[in-house]
Subunit: 259 residues, 2 copies
């Protein structure tokens, strides 16, 4: 299979650098074809702006949505955006690796999504009607592909538990898992987490690598997080609220999983 490994850390001689090397070796040893987007070494431009688009009539106000749609449809996107979109389209699975900085992905990785997730490619696709509100949340350009995040944190596991002060890690990752990956159609696997990074010594790294290898071996068989498809009947349209019959009386991120 073809795997796209996207990762972000400013220092290759870091724990994330070691994890990135391990991921690439394991996937290659498993017989996969591995594409890599090492965002820091690529010097990826993080900010979405008008320079991304070679749109002729630039005297009018720049509109991120409309301009990205026009540029995507007309071939006026910058070359770096087109290259990354192609890698995404060609992959069977995406492995997204990053340190959790301030409870989210690093800015450079957020900017990777902002710039390549064009209108007409990642959003604003499909019919909008009384029964279908765009190809999103379970449908879209990434349908049939899998995604798994590999996330390191400085804090302890308990700090990210259900009652931990940081908030539960699955809720902190919801905007990424559900909002960025499931949105475009990916089947999203449970994350691979490494906590308390400053305490990871050689022995701990061996253990971590073994556990990570098992996850990579099972990349195409692990059951995905059972998020509810938006257009499958569970939500009202166009209000897009979960129907009363499901999880009655409950609110929050958790109700969007069927378990």
């Amino acid at each position: 299979m073809r795997i796209l490994h996207v990762w972000a850390h400013p220092e290759p001689r870091s724990l994330n650098g070691s994890i990135a090397t391990a991921i690439q070796k394991t996937l290659t040893d498993l017989g996969h074809q591995v594409d890599t987007s090492d965002l820091y070494r690529m010097k990826w431009k993080p900010q979405l702006d008008q320079d991304d688009f070679d749109v002729p009539d630039s005297a009018t106000a720049f509109h991120p949505e409309k301009t990205s749609r026009e540029a995507f449809l007309s071939g006026w996107q910058s070359a770096d955006i087109e290259t990354e979109q192609r890698k995404l389209v060609q992959c069977d699975a995406l492995v997204l690796q990053f340190p959790l900085w301030w409870y989210s992905m690093p800015a450079i990785m957020k900017g990777w999504f902002e710039r390549i997730y064009a209108y007409g490619f990642a959003y604003g696709v499909g019919e909008h009607s009384d029964t279908h509100w765009g190809d999103r949340f379970g449908e879209g350009a990434m349908s049939g592909k899998r995604a798994m995040t590999v996330v390191t944190t400085g804090g302890w596991e308990s700090h990210y538990s259900g009652r931990g002060v940081n908030g539960p890690i699955e809720d902190l990752l919801f905007p990424i898992h559900h909002g960025l990956l499931f949105y475009t159609g990916f089947d999203v696997l449970p994350p691979f987490l490494v906590h308390r990074t400053s305490k990871v010594d050689a022995e701990c790294f061996d253990d971590l690598s073994h556990r990570l290898n098992r996850r990579l071996e099972n990349l195409f068989t692990t059951p995905p997080i059972p998020y509810r498809p938006q257009n499958g009947g569970d939500y009202t349209i166009p209000a897009l609220e979960l129907r009363d019959g499901f999880e009655p009386g409950h609110t929050g991120f958790g109700i969007h999983r069927t378990e």
Copy 2:
């Protein structure tokens, strides 16, 4: 009072540009001194990397935490970082304005926090003991200051409701309100939200401006979101889990508010 207005949108001739102008005018009319960080026009560098630090011994591996601490303490930070830190220290309140892109702030704004929130300035401060786990979540360099987010979304209000498909807006903003702002000691006010931006016409903008003006007039009197201070006794230390007596049986972001 002195207010720092930080905003991010690539096009000044946009709804966010109009809101930014309105915020600056209103705050000035109210007699405040307004500092502005217009991240796109400043061409703010979003990615945290070794170039941020003029640390002498750069042959050793770059470590974001350790290097940022050393640079902060030794005056080896880049000038743009120092300038923004000074603006934060000098302000009485922060108004943080952005369009919600992929369920979070734009990359350029995330990178503003990543680069200026140095170790020793925004985190890694205060005593770590059996009764106090750093000056954070209610204590820290920003204690006594207030913060309010002003957030625009393309989606409908119902899509961001308690049972909306995107997840509740207060949960999507939790990593920002609680994880970035309350973490360093800010009193965080309820956000000012503008939904369905493509439908905002002149009449709607008038109404929006009026409501926003009321919020700005009450910037120093509006009750903040009642997040629980980390070191006030509600959490176990060092596990940092909410004690059994509070919100028994519940998990998630909501338990970190006292209401």
